[in-house]
Protein backbone atom coordinates (compact mmCIF):
# COMPACT_ATOMS: atom_id res chain seq x y z
CA UNK A 1 0.00 0.00 0.00
CA UNK A 2 1.65 3.16 -1.17
CA UNK A 3 0.00 6.32 -0.09
CA UNK A 4 0.34 9.10 -2.60
CA UNK A 5 -2.34 11.68 -3.14
CA UNK A 6 -4.30 11.65 -6.35
CA UNK A 7 -2.90 15.05 -7.11
CA UNK A 8 0.61 13.65 -6.97
CA UNK A 9 -0.25 10.87 -9.39
CA UNK A 10 -1.75 13.29 -11.89
CA UNK A 11 1.19 15.60 -11.36
CA UNK A 12 3.81 13.00 -12.15
CA UNK A 13 1.87 11.87 -15.19
CA UNK A 14 1.77 15.45 -16.43
CA UNK A 15 5.42 16.13 -15.73
CA UNK A 16 6.43 19.73 -15.08
CA UNK A 17 3.11 21.28 -16.08
CA UNK A 18 1.40 19.17 -13.42
CA UNK A 19 2.66 21.53 -10.74
CA UNK A 20 0.24 24.13 -11.98
CA UNK A 21 -2.71 21.75 -12.13
CA UNK A 22 -4.16 22.43 -8.67
CA UNK A 23 -3.77 26.13 -9.30
CA UNK A 24 -5.62 25.84 -12.61
CA UNK A 25 -8.39 23.78 -11.04
CA UNK A 26 -8.76 26.26 -8.22
CA UNK A 27 -9.05 29.26 -10.51
CA UNK A 28 -11.43 27.45 -12.86
CA UNK A 29 -13.64 26.48 -9.92
CA UNK A 30 -13.70 30.06 -8.68
CA UNK A 31 -14.77 31.41 -12.07
CA UNK A 32 -17.33 28.64 -12.53
CA UNK A 33 -18.84 29.29 -9.11
CA UNK A 34 -18.87 33.01 -9.78
CA UNK A 35 -20.78 32.65 -13.06
CA UNK A 36 -23.04 29.75 -12.08
CA UNK A 37 -24.27 31.03 -8.73
CA UNK A 38 -24.46 34.82 -9.03
CA UNK A 39 -27.16 34.96 -6.33
CA UNK A 40 -25.16 32.93 -3.84
CA UNK A 41 -22.01 35.02 -3.79
CA UNK A 42 -22.52 35.79 -0.10
CA UNK A 43 -22.60 32.10 0.74
CA UNK A 44 -19.66 31.33 -1.55
CA UNK A 45 -17.64 34.06 0.11
CA UNK A 46 -18.43 32.61 3.53
CA UNK A 47 -17.14 29.33 2.20
CA UNK A 48 -13.89 30.89 0.99
CA UNK A 49 -13.32 32.51 4.39
CA UNK A 50 -13.99 29.19 6.07
CA UNK A 51 -11.50 27.54 3.71
CA UNK A 52 -8.82 29.97 4.87
CA UNK A 53 -9.71 29.08 8.44
CA UNK A 54 -9.76 25.30 7.90
CA UNK A 55 -6.53 25.27 5.92
CA UNK A 56 -4.85 27.12 8.82
CA UNK A 57 -5.98 24.31 11.11
CA UNK A 58 -4.58 21.76 8.67
CA UNK A 59 -1.09 23.02 9.40
CA UNK A 60 -1.64 22.39 13.10
CA UNK A 61 -3.63 19.15 13.07
CA UNK A 62 -2.87 17.71 9.65
CA UNK A 63 0.85 18.41 9.54
CA UNK A 64 2.06 18.84 13.13
CA UNK A 65 -0.51 16.39 14.51
CA UNK A 66 -1.59 18.73 17.31
CA UNK A 67 -5.30 18.23 18.03
CA UNK A 68 -6.98 21.25 19.62
CA UNK A 69 -10.60 22.30 19.97
CA UNK A 70 -9.94 25.99 20.35
CA UNK A 71 -8.93 27.18 16.94
CA UNK A 72 -11.72 29.77 17.08
CA UNK A 73 -9.64 31.69 19.63
CA UNK A 74 -7.40 33.13 16.94
CA UNK A 75 -10.27 33.54 14.47
CA UNK A 76 -12.33 35.50 16.98
CA UNK A 77 -9.44 37.70 18.08
CA UNK A 78 -8.52 38.40 14.46
CA UNK A 79 -12.13 39.35 13.73
CA UNK A 80 -12.42 41.72 16.71
CA UNK A 81 -9.01 43.23 16.03
CA UNK A 82 -9.82 43.93 12.38
CA UNK A 83 -13.28 45.26 13.26
CA UNK A 84 -11.99 47.62 15.95
CA UNK A 85 -9.12 48.70 13.75
CA UNK A 86 -11.55 49.58 10.94
CA UNK A 87 -13.76 51.57 13.27
CA UNK A 88 -11.12 53.40 15.29
CA UNK A 89 -7.97 53.52 13.19
CA UNK A 90 -8.18 52.92 9.47
CA UNK A 91 -10.85 51.47 7.20
CA UNK A 92 -8.24 50.12 4.80
CA UNK A 93 -8.93 46.40 4.24
CA UNK A 94 -5.36 45.22 3.74
CA UNK A 95 -4.10 47.02 6.83
CA UNK A 96 -6.99 45.43 8.67
CA UNK A 97 -5.96 41.98 7.48
CA UNK A 98 -2.43 42.64 8.71
CA UNK A 99 -3.78 43.63 12.12
CA UNK A 100 -5.89 40.47 12.25
CA UNK A 101 -2.82 38.43 11.34
CA UNK A 102 -0.65 40.01 14.04
CA UNK A 103 -3.28 39.56 16.74
CA UNK A 104 -3.87 35.96 15.64
CA UNK A 105 -0.14 35.35 15.87
CA UNK A 106 0.16 36.93 19.32
CA UNK A 107 -2.77 34.98 20.75
CA UNK A 108 -1.38 31.77 19.25
CA UNK A 109 2.08 32.52 20.63
CA UNK A 110 1.03 33.19 24.21
CA UNK A 111 -1.56 30.42 24.37
CA UNK A 112 0.77 28.13 22.42
CA UNK A 113 3.50 28.48 25.05
CA UNK A 114 1.11 26.71 27.41
CA UNK A 115 -0.83 24.51 25.00
CA UNK A 116 2.13 22.96 23.22
CA UNK A 117 3.33 21.50 26.51
CA UNK A 118 0.06 19.60 26.90
CA UNK A 119 -1.05 16.45 25.13
CA UNK A 120 -4.22 14.54 24.39
CA UNK A 121 -7.21 15.25 26.57
CA UNK A 122 -5.60 18.01 28.62
CA UNK A 123 -4.63 19.79 25.40
CA UNK A 124 -8.22 19.60 24.15
CA UNK A 125 -9.55 20.89 27.47
CA UNK A 126 -7.02 23.73 27.74
CA UNK A 127 -7.67 24.89 24.19
CA UNK A 128 -11.41 24.94 24.86
CA UNK A 129 -10.86 26.79 28.12
CA UNK A 130 -8.75 29.52 26.53
CA UNK A 131 -11.39 30.13 23.88
CA UNK A 132 -14.10 30.32 26.54
CA UNK A 133 -12.14 32.89 28.51
CA UNK A 134 -11.66 35.01 25.40
CA UNK A 135 -15.36 34.74 24.58
CA UNK A 136 -16.26 35.83 28.09
CA UNK A 137 -13.91 38.81 27.83
CA UNK A 138 -15.47 39.80 24.50
CA UNK A 139 -18.98 39.64 25.87
CA UNK A 140 -18.10 41.46 29.14
CA UNK A 141 -16.12 44.30 27.52
CA UNK A 142 -19.34 45.76 26.16
CA UNK A 143 -17.96 49.29 25.75
CA UNK A 144 -15.30 48.07 23.37
CA UNK A 145 -16.79 45.05 21.65
CA UNK A 146 -20.51 45.74 21.78
CA UNK A 147 -20.91 42.70 24.04
CA UNK A 148 -23.63 40.25 23.11
CA UNK A 149 -25.01 42.66 20.49
CA UNK A 150 -21.81 42.30 18.55
CA UNK A 151 -19.45 44.83 17.04
CA UNK A 152 -21.18 46.86 14.35
CA UNK A 153 -20.44 49.91 12.25
CA UNK A 154 -17.55 48.40 10.36
CA UNK A 155 -17.20 49.89 6.90
CA UNK A 156 -14.28 49.43 4.58
CA UNK A 157 -12.67 51.64 1.98
CA UNK A 158 -11.98 50.15 -1.49
CA UNK A 159 -9.26 47.49 -1.64
CA UNK A 160 -6.00 49.08 -2.80
CA UNK A 161 -8.11 52.22 -3.23
CA UNK A 162 -9.66 50.74 -6.37
CA UNK A 163 -12.05 47.84 -5.75
CA UNK A 164 -15.07 49.06 -3.86
CA UNK A 165 -17.14 46.57 -1.84
CA UNK A 166 -20.41 46.25 -3.76
CA UNK A 167 -23.88 45.27 -2.62
CA UNK A 168 -23.97 41.94 -4.47
CA UNK A 169 -20.64 40.86 -3.06
CA UNK A 170 -18.56 40.51 -6.21
CA UNK A 171 -15.60 42.35 -4.77
CA UNK A 172 -15.87 40.46 -1.49
CA UNK A 173 -15.85 37.16 -3.38
CA UNK A 174 -12.68 37.95 -5.33
CA UNK A 175 -11.09 39.52 -2.29
CA UNK A 176 -11.65 36.38 -0.22
CA UNK A 177 -10.55 34.20 -3.11
CA UNK A 178 -7.32 36.15 -3.58
CA UNK A 179 -6.48 35.87 0.10
CA UNK A 180 -7.18 32.13 0.06
CA UNK A 181 -5.08 31.73 -3.05
CA UNK A 182 -2.07 33.57 -1.63
CA UNK A 183 -2.29 31.65 1.64
CA UNK A 184 -2.42 28.36 -0.23
CA UNK A 185 0.69 29.28 -2.20
CA UNK A 186 2.51 30.25 1.01
CA UNK A 187 1.43 27.05 2.75
CA UNK A 188 2.50 24.90 -0.19
CA UNK A 189 5.97 26.38 0.04
CA UNK A 190 5.98 25.94 3.79
CA UNK A 191 4.96 22.28 3.83
CA UNK A 192 7.61 21.45 1.22
CA UNK A 193 10.33 23.13 3.31
CA UNK A 194 12.61 21.47 5.86
CA UNK A 195 10.30 22.91 8.52
CA UNK A 196 7.32 21.21 6.87
CA UNK A 197 9.15 17.89 6.88
CA UNK A 198 9.99 18.35 10.56
CA UNK A 199 6.31 18.94 11.32
CA UNK A 200 5.37 15.71 9.61
CA UNK A 201 8.07 13.99 11.64
CA UNK A 202 6.60 15.40 14.85
CA UNK A 203 3.16 14.15 13.91
CA UNK A 204 4.52 10.75 13.01
CA UNK A 205 6.74 10.07 16.03
CA UNK A 206 7.58 12.73 18.62
CA UNK A 207 9.69 10.16 20.47
CA UNK A 208 11.84 9.54 17.41
CA UNK A 209 12.15 13.28 16.87
CA UNK A 210 13.70 13.56 20.32
CA UNK A 211 15.94 10.62 19.49
CA UNK A 212 17.27 12.49 16.47
CA UNK A 213 18.13 15.45 18.65
CA UNK A 214 15.05 17.59 18.08
CA UNK A 215 13.15 19.16 20.93
CA UNK A 216 9.69 19.32 19.42
CA UNK A 217 8.28 22.10 21.61
CA UNK A 218 9.46 25.19 19.73
CA UNK A 219 8.65 23.68 16.38
CA UNK A 220 5.12 23.05 17.55
CA UNK A 221 4.82 26.57 18.96
CA UNK A 222 6.04 27.96 15.63
CA UNK A 223 3.51 25.90 13.67
CA UNK A 224 0.80 27.03 16.06
CA UNK A 225 1.75 30.67 15.55
CA UNK A 226 1.71 30.32 11.76
CA UNK A 227 -1.66 28.57 11.91
CA UNK A 228 -2.91 31.25 14.32
CA UNK A 229 -1.75 34.03 12.01
CA UNK A 230 -3.79 32.58 9.16
CA UNK A 231 -6.78 31.97 11.42
CA UNK A 232 -6.55 35.64 12.46
CA UNK A 233 -6.61 36.61 8.79
CA UNK A 234 -9.72 34.47 8.28
CA UNK A 235 -11.39 36.24 11.21
CA UNK A 236 -10.39 39.64 9.86
CA UNK A 237 -11.81 38.76 6.42
CA UNK A 238 -15.06 37.74 8.00
CA UNK A 239 -15.30 40.99 10.01
CA UNK A 240 -14.56 43.13 6.95
CA UNK A 241 -16.91 41.32 4.60
CA UNK A 242 -19.90 40.85 6.91
CA UNK A 243 -19.32 44.20 8.65
CA UNK A 244 -20.10 42.46 11.89
CA UNK A 245 -18.30 40.60 14.67
CA UNK A 246 -20.26 38.69 17.26
CA UNK A 247 -19.13 36.74 20.30
CA UNK A 248 -20.15 33.65 18.34
CA UNK A 249 -16.81 33.97 16.57
CA UNK A 250 -15.43 32.21 19.67
CA UNK A 251 -18.08 29.47 19.69
CA UNK A 252 -17.00 25.98 20.58
CA UNK A 253 -19.13 24.75 17.68
CA UNK A 254 -16.95 26.70 15.27
CA UNK A 255 -13.76 25.02 16.49
CA UNK A 256 -15.47 21.65 16.28
CA UNK A 257 -16.82 22.32 12.78
CA UNK A 258 -13.35 23.22 11.60
CA UNK A 259 -12.05 19.89 12.81
CA UNK A 260 -14.96 18.04 11.19
CA UNK A 261 -14.42 19.81 7.85
CA UNK A 262 -10.75 18.97 7.89
CA UNK A 263 -11.21 15.29 8.75
CA UNK A 264 -14.01 15.05 6.19
CA UNK A 265 -11.82 16.38 3.40
CA UNK A 266 -8.57 14.79 4.50
CA UNK A 267 -6.00 16.19 6.92
CA UNK A 268 -2.40 16.87 6.03
CA UNK A 269 -2.70 17.73 2.35
CA UNK A 270 -4.03 21.31 2.21
CA UNK A 271 -6.47 20.64 -0.64
CA UNK A 272 -8.33 18.21 1.60
CA UNK A 273 -9.24 21.18 3.77
CA UNK A 274 -10.80 22.91 0.77
CA UNK A 275 -12.81 19.85 -0.26
CA UNK A 276 -13.99 19.22 3.29
CA UNK A 277 -15.15 22.81 3.68
CA UNK A 278 -16.88 22.75 0.30
CA UNK A 279 -18.77 19.55 1.06
CA UNK A 280 -19.61 20.40 4.67
CA UNK A 281 -20.91 23.88 3.94
CA UNK A 282 -22.79 22.84 0.81
CA UNK A 283 -24.50 19.97 2.62
CA UNK A 284 -25.35 22.25 5.51
CA UNK A 285 -26.67 24.92 3.14
CA UNK A 286 -28.79 22.56 1.09
CA UNK A 287 -29.88 20.17 3.82
CA UNK A 288 -30.71 22.98 6.21
CA UNK A 289 -33.00 24.61 3.67
CA UNK A 290 -34.81 21.29 3.13
CA UNK A 291 -35.01 20.26 6.77
CA UNK A 292 -33.63 22.85 9.18
CA UNK A 293 -33.87 20.49 12.16
CA UNK A 294 -32.27 17.33 10.91
CA UNK A 295 -29.42 18.42 8.66
CA UNK A 296 -26.87 17.31 11.22
CA UNK A 297 -27.89 13.72 10.47
CA UNK A 298 -26.51 14.07 6.99
CA UNK A 299 -23.21 15.51 8.20
CA UNK A 300 -23.01 12.93 10.97
CA UNK A 301 -23.46 9.99 8.65
CA UNK A 302 -21.05 11.42 6.13
CA UNK A 303 -18.43 11.79 8.82
CA UNK A 304 -19.01 8.22 10.00
CA UNK A 305 -18.65 6.94 6.46
CA UNK A 306 -15.44 8.87 5.93
CA UNK A 307 -13.86 7.83 9.22
CA UNK A 308 -14.65 4.15 8.59
CA UNK A 309 -14.16 3.82 4.86
CA UNK A 310 -11.97 6.73 3.84
CA UNK A 311 -9.65 7.48 6.76
CA UNK A 312 -7.63 9.78 4.53
CA UNK A 313 -10.68 11.86 3.76
CA UNK A 314 -12.72 12.64 0.67
CA UNK A 315 -9.59 13.77 -1.16
CA UNK A 316 -8.48 10.13 -1.27
CA UNK A 317 -11.77 8.98 -2.84
CA UNK A 318 -10.68 9.05 -6.51
CA UNK A 319 -7.59 7.01 -5.73
CA UNK A 320 -9.62 4.55 -3.67
CA UNK A 321 -12.09 4.07 -6.50
CA UNK A 322 -9.27 3.70 -9.01
CA UNK A 323 -7.63 1.15 -6.71
CA UNK A 324 -10.86 -0.87 -6.47
CA UNK A 325 -11.37 -0.89 -10.23
CA UNK A 326 -7.73 -1.87 -10.71
CA UNK A 327 -8.07 -4.70 -8.16
CA UNK A 328 -11.19 -6.06 -9.89
CA UNK A 329 -9.42 -6.48 -13.21
Amino acid sequence: MIRISTIDIVRTSLGGTGKLLPVAILITCAFAAFWLFPYDLGFLTQMLIMMVFVVSFDLILGYAGVATLGHAAMYGCGAYAAGLFAIHASPDPLLGLAVGAVIGALIAFFSGLLLMRAHGLSLLMLSIAITMVLQEIASKARDVTGGADGLTGISMTPILGVFEFDFIGKTAFWYAFSVLFIILVVLRVLVASPFGLALRGIKDSPSRMRAIGTPVYWRKVTAYVIGGTIAGIAGALSAQITSLVSVEAFNFALSADVMVMLILGGAGRLYGALIGTLVFMTVRHVAASIDPFNWLFVIGFMLLAVVFFLPDGLISLPRRVAGMIGARK
Binding site: A198, R200, D204, R208, R210, A211, I212, G213
Partner: protein
Amino acid sequence: MTSGLRIRNLSKNFGGLQVARNITLDIPTGARAALIGPNGAGKTTFANLIIGALQPSSGSIHLDGKDISQLGEAARVRAGIAKTFQITNLFKDLSVRDNIRLPILEREHRTFRFLERHDGDAAIEAEVEELLADFRLLPLANRLVRSLAYGQQRLVELALTLSLKPRILILDEPAAGVPSSDSHLIVDAIKRLPTYLSVLIIEHDMKLVFEVASRIIVLVNGAVLVEGTPEEISRDLRVRELYLGAGHG
Protein backbone atom coordinates in the same frame (compact mmCIF):
# COMPACT_ATOMS: atom_id res chain seq x y z
CA MET B 1 41.71 8.80 30.31
CA THR B 2 38.68 10.99 29.90
CA SER B 3 37.89 10.29 26.26
CA GLY B 4 34.68 8.33 25.56
CA LEU B 5 31.84 7.35 27.86
CA ARG B 6 32.46 6.98 31.58
CA ILE B 7 29.60 5.48 33.58
CA ARG B 8 29.76 5.40 37.34
CA ASN B 9 27.44 3.64 39.81
CA LEU B 10 24.42 3.95 37.58
CA SER B 11 21.21 2.70 39.17
CA LYS B 12 17.58 2.75 38.17
CA ASN B 13 14.46 1.63 39.99
CA PHE B 14 11.02 1.17 38.54
CA GLY B 15 9.03 1.39 41.74
CA GLY B 16 10.33 -1.52 43.79
CA LEU B 17 12.07 -3.18 40.84
CA GLN B 18 15.77 -2.42 40.50
CA VAL B 19 16.69 -2.80 36.82
CA ALA B 20 20.14 -1.20 36.93
CA ARG B 21 22.41 -1.88 39.90
CA ASN B 22 25.53 0.20 40.39
CA ILE B 23 26.73 -0.19 36.84
CA THR B 24 30.27 1.10 36.39
CA LEU B 25 31.66 0.92 32.89
CA ASP B 26 33.99 2.67 30.46
CA ILE B 27 33.38 2.78 26.74
CA PRO B 28 36.50 4.46 25.37
CA THR B 29 36.64 6.17 22.00
CA GLY B 30 36.76 3.65 19.19
CA ALA B 31 35.54 0.79 21.35
CA ARG B 32 33.59 -2.12 19.88
CA ALA B 33 31.76 -3.38 22.93
CA ALA B 34 28.87 -5.80 23.23
CA LEU B 35 26.33 -5.95 26.00
CA ILE B 36 24.80 -9.37 26.43
CA GLY B 37 22.53 -10.97 28.98
CA PRO B 38 19.28 -12.86 29.34
CA ASN B 39 15.87 -11.39 28.54
CA GLY B 40 14.85 -8.83 31.10
CA ALA B 41 18.42 -8.33 32.33
CA GLY B 42 18.05 -4.57 31.88
CA LYS B 43 20.04 -4.05 28.67
CA THR B 44 17.53 -1.77 26.97
CA THR B 45 17.01 0.11 30.21
CA PHE B 46 20.74 0.68 30.50
CA ALA B 47 20.85 2.00 26.93
CA ASN B 48 17.91 4.30 27.65
CA LEU B 49 19.73 5.68 30.69
CA ILE B 50 22.73 6.54 28.53
CA ILE B 51 20.75 8.28 25.79
CA GLY B 52 18.65 10.16 28.33
CA ALA B 53 15.30 8.61 27.48
CA LEU B 54 15.24 7.55 31.14
CA GLN B 55 16.63 9.45 34.13
CA PRO B 56 18.77 7.37 36.50
CA SER B 57 17.87 7.03 40.18
CA SER B 58 21.53 7.61 40.98
CA GLY B 59 24.97 7.59 39.40
CA SER B 60 26.69 9.65 36.73
CA ILE B 61 27.51 9.59 33.02
CA HIS B 62 30.42 11.54 31.55
CA LEU B 63 31.15 12.03 27.86
CA ASP B 64 34.73 13.12 27.12
CA GLY B 65 35.04 14.35 30.68
CA LYS B 66 31.81 16.35 30.65
CA ASP B 67 28.95 15.39 32.94
CA ILE B 68 25.93 14.76 30.70
CA SER B 69 23.73 13.17 33.37
CA GLN B 70 21.50 16.24 33.52
CA LEU B 71 21.07 16.69 29.78
CA GLY B 72 17.80 15.77 28.07
CA GLU B 73 17.56 13.23 25.30
CA ALA B 74 17.73 15.72 22.41
CA ALA B 75 20.75 17.48 23.90
CA ARG B 76 22.61 14.19 24.28
CA VAL B 77 21.97 13.36 20.63
CA ARG B 78 23.50 16.69 19.73
CA ALA B 79 26.42 15.83 21.99
CA GLY B 80 26.95 12.76 19.81
CA ILE B 81 25.10 9.83 21.40
CA ALA B 82 22.60 7.93 19.30
CA LYS B 83 20.79 4.63 19.61
CA THR B 84 18.78 2.35 17.41
CA PHE B 85 15.54 1.11 18.90
CA GLN B 86 14.99 -2.52 19.74
CA ILE B 87 11.41 -2.09 18.63
CA THR B 88 11.60 -0.13 15.40
CA ASN B 89 10.58 3.47 15.94
CA LEU B 90 10.50 5.16 12.56
CA PHE B 91 8.52 7.85 10.78
CA LYS B 92 6.05 5.37 9.36
CA ASP B 93 4.05 7.79 7.25
CA LEU B 94 7.13 9.26 5.62
CA SER B 95 9.04 7.74 2.75
CA VAL B 96 12.27 5.83 3.39
CA ARG B 97 14.17 8.72 1.84
CA ASP B 98 12.51 11.28 4.12
CA ASN B 99 13.32 9.07 7.12
CA ILE B 100 17.00 9.52 6.31
CA ARG B 101 16.71 13.10 5.11
CA LEU B 102 14.95 14.46 8.19
CA PRO B 103 17.65 13.50 10.72
CA ILE B 104 20.32 14.95 8.45
CA LEU B 105 18.39 18.21 8.14
CA GLU B 106 18.05 18.26 11.93
CA ARG B 107 21.73 17.49 12.41
CA GLU B 108 22.60 20.39 10.10
CA HIS B 109 20.17 22.72 11.93
CA ARG B 110 18.12 23.26 8.81
CA THR B 111 14.59 22.64 9.98
CA PHE B 112 13.82 26.18 10.95
CA ARG B 113 13.96 27.12 7.28
CA PHE B 114 10.61 27.85 5.76
CA LEU B 115 11.15 28.98 2.20
CA GLU B 116 13.58 26.50 0.68
CA ARG B 117 12.65 23.02 -0.45
CA HIS B 118 13.45 20.16 1.92
CA ASP B 119 15.17 18.31 -0.92
CA GLY B 120 16.95 21.36 -2.25
CA ASP B 121 20.46 20.96 -0.81
CA ALA B 122 22.78 19.02 -3.11
CA ALA B 123 25.27 18.00 -0.42
CA ILE B 124 22.55 16.67 1.87
CA GLU B 125 20.85 14.86 -1.00
CA ALA B 126 24.13 13.18 -1.93
CA GLU B 127 24.57 12.02 1.65
CA VAL B 128 21.01 10.66 1.69
CA GLU B 129 21.55 8.72 -1.52
CA GLU B 130 24.83 7.29 -0.26
CA LEU B 131 23.27 5.99 2.93
CA LEU B 132 20.36 4.52 0.99
CA ALA B 133 22.79 2.77 -1.33
CA ASP B 134 24.87 1.42 1.58
CA PHE B 135 21.85 -0.38 2.95
CA ARG B 136 20.45 -1.42 -0.45
CA LEU B 137 17.46 0.80 0.22
CA LEU B 138 17.46 2.70 -3.07
CA PRO B 139 14.73 0.56 -4.68
CA LEU B 140 12.54 1.24 -1.66
CA ALA B 141 13.41 4.90 -1.24
CA ASN B 142 10.02 6.30 -2.24
CA ARG B 143 7.96 3.76 -0.32
CA LEU B 144 6.29 4.71 2.94
CA VAL B 145 8.09 3.00 5.79
CA ARG B 146 4.85 1.44 7.05
CA SER B 147 4.62 -0.54 3.81
CA LEU B 148 8.03 -2.20 4.28
CA ALA B 149 8.70 -5.66 5.66
CA TYR B 150 10.03 -5.67 9.21
CA GLY B 151 13.52 -6.67 8.19
CA GLN B 152 13.66 -3.77 5.76
CA GLN B 153 12.49 -1.44 8.50
CA ARG B 154 15.41 -2.63 10.64
CA LEU B 155 17.78 -1.51 7.91
CA VAL B 156 16.08 1.90 7.78
CA GLU B 157 16.40 2.07 11.57
CA LEU B 158 20.15 1.62 11.36
CA ALA B 159 20.58 3.94 8.38
CA LEU B 160 18.54 6.63 10.13
CA THR B 161 20.62 6.42 13.28
CA LEU B 162 23.89 6.53 11.35
CA SER B 163 22.68 9.58 9.46
CA LEU B 164 23.05 11.47 12.74
CA LYS B 165 26.82 10.87 12.55
CA PRO B 166 27.07 9.99 16.24
CA ARG B 167 30.34 9.48 18.11
CA ILE B 168 28.78 6.97 20.47
CA LEU B 169 26.48 4.50 18.79
CA ILE B 170 24.28 2.12 20.73
CA LEU B 171 22.64 -0.66 18.75
CA ASP B 172 19.79 -2.44 20.50
CA GLU B 173 19.49 -5.83 18.82
CA PRO B 174 20.03 -4.41 15.33
CA ALA B 175 19.74 -7.75 13.59
CA ALA B 176 16.66 -9.06 15.38
CA GLY B 177 13.96 -9.66 12.79
CA VAL B 178 16.27 -9.17 9.84
CA PRO B 179 16.17 -12.14 7.46
CA SER B 180 19.49 -13.98 7.47
CA SER B 181 19.93 -13.12 3.81
CA ASP B 182 20.14 -9.45 4.82
CA SER B 183 21.88 -9.66 8.18
CA HIS B 184 25.28 -9.35 6.52
CA LEU B 185 24.23 -5.82 5.53
CA ILE B 186 24.05 -4.99 9.22
CA VAL B 187 27.33 -6.70 10.06
CA ASP B 188 29.06 -5.03 7.12
CA ALA B 189 27.68 -1.65 8.13
CA ILE B 190 28.99 -2.10 11.67
CA LYS B 191 32.39 -3.17 10.41
CA ARG B 192 32.54 -0.19 8.07
CA LEU B 193 31.93 2.31 10.87
CA PRO B 194 34.79 4.80 11.28
CA THR B 195 37.23 4.04 14.08
CA TYR B 196 36.66 7.30 15.95
CA LEU B 197 33.20 6.00 16.71
CA SER B 198 32.44 4.00 19.86
CA VAL B 199 29.92 1.23 19.42
CA LEU B 200 27.94 -0.58 22.07
CA ILE B 201 25.95 -3.41 20.60
CA ILE B 202 23.22 -5.21 22.49
CA GLU B 203 22.66 -8.58 20.89
CA HIS B 204 21.50 -12.12 21.54
CA ASP B 205 23.11 -13.53 18.40
CA MET B 206 26.54 -14.68 19.67
CA LYS B 207 27.88 -15.18 16.19
CA LEU B 208 27.28 -11.52 15.43
CA VAL B 209 28.72 -10.46 18.79
CA PHE B 210 31.95 -12.39 18.28
CA GLU B 211 32.20 -11.05 14.77
CA VAL B 212 32.17 -7.38 15.71
CA ALA B 213 32.99 -6.96 19.41
CA SER B 214 36.41 -6.72 21.01
CA ARG B 215 34.95 -6.43 24.51
CA ILE B 216 31.93 -8.09 26.02
CA ILE B 217 29.94 -7.05 29.06
CA VAL B 218 27.54 -9.52 30.59
CA LEU B 219 24.56 -8.03 32.39
CA VAL B 220 22.42 -10.12 34.71
CA ASN B 221 19.61 -8.77 36.86
CA GLY B 222 20.68 -5.21 36.19
CA ALA B 223 24.26 -5.71 37.36
CA VAL B 224 27.48 -6.34 35.48
CA LEU B 225 28.33 -10.01 36.01
CA VAL B 226 31.63 -9.99 34.16
CA GLU B 227 33.45 -7.95 31.55
CA GLY B 228 36.26 -9.06 29.25
CA THR B 229 37.52 -10.00 25.83
CA PRO B 230 35.49 -12.47 23.75
CA GLU B 231 37.98 -15.23 24.66
CA GLU B 232 37.71 -14.53 28.39
CA ILE B 233 33.93 -14.41 28.20
CA SER B 234 33.63 -17.63 26.24
CA ARG B 235 35.81 -19.35 28.85
CA ASP B 236 33.93 -17.89 31.82
CA LEU B 237 32.09 -20.62 33.66
CA ARG B 238 29.30 -18.40 34.94
CA VAL B 239 28.57 -17.16 31.42
CA ARG B 240 28.69 -20.69 30.02
CA GLU B 241 26.19 -21.75 32.61
CA LEU B 242 23.99 -18.78 31.82
CA TYR B 243 23.99 -19.39 28.11
CA LEU B 244 24.34 -23.13 27.82
CA GLY B 245 22.31 -24.05 30.85
CA ALA B 246 23.22 -26.76 33.35
CA GLY B 247 22.18 -29.62 31.06
CA HIS B 248 24.61 -28.79 28.29
CA GLY B 249 27.80 -28.63 30.35
